[in-house]
């Protein structure tokens, strides 16, 4: 299950939905809004999604993970809209009989989601500046593509 959510996520409920007595391992990844990015103090974020294609591509990534790894269940939910510091931006959870598959699949899903799902992040800095991440076209600028993701 991949979905976009305009409202705050409830990770406990998301994880409960993955409960399965066949599962011995559950690995989750949460992406949180950090207070700094590449040394710039961040005050808030906004995420914008191209919803129909984001949902299709997210579902494809989960299907690939189910195919590649010995999974029982998997889910990924991504926030849209305005987020404050410390807020949960993306949640990935997977269950498997054994932990190796769960770790590998969770990592696969978040890596692929960050690379492929059409969602964009705009950072707001304490200076008042803003930047669409990965969209700078000149070096040295806030929001330069060189910055590492979470």
């Amino acid at each position: 299950m991949f979905r976009l959510a305009a409202e705050p996520l409830d990770p406990a409920a998301l994880q409960r939905a993955l409960s399965d007595v066949r599962a011995g391992a559950c690995v989750t990844f949460e992406g949180w809004v950090r207070n700094r990015n590449e040394g710039q103090p961040v005050t808030a974020l906004e995420y914008e999604a191209y919803a129909p294609l984001a949902e299709k591509e997210g579902a494809r990534i989960l299907a690939e993970a189910q195919e590649k790894f010995a999974l029982i269940g998997s889910a990924c939910v991504h926030r849209t809209g305005q987020l404050g510091l410390g807020e949960l931006a993306v949640w990935v959870g997977v269950t498997a009989e054994h932990r190796g598959a769960a770790f590998d699949a969770c990592r696969y899903i978040i890596d692929e989601a960050k690379a492929r799902v059409p969602i964009w992040k705009k950072e707001h800095y304490s200076s008042g500046a803003t930047a669409w991440i990965n969209c700078a076209t000149r070096g040295g600028e806030v929001g330069d593509a060189a910055q590492p993701p979470a």
Binding site: E48, K114, P118, N134, T137
Partner: protein
Amino acid sequence: MKTVSVQYFAILREQRGLTEEKVSTTAATLAALYDELRARHGFTLPGDRVRAAVNDEFVAATAPLSDGVRVVFIPPVAGG
């Protein structure tokens, strides 16, 4: 002359100042359409950093542009 609908997101939406428009064009490919729109609206992202979608599916930028489709140009993504 073809007429297509173009939807804008994120940095392209801000630079264009709107979310969707009808465009009449003679562009043969999606890449050619992006270059045309970039020249017209001053988009900062070069064509090689933008992906394309037609009717909510990814397509190659070199794909031919058909009449009546809905086009989205996709800036570098940054979810998570």
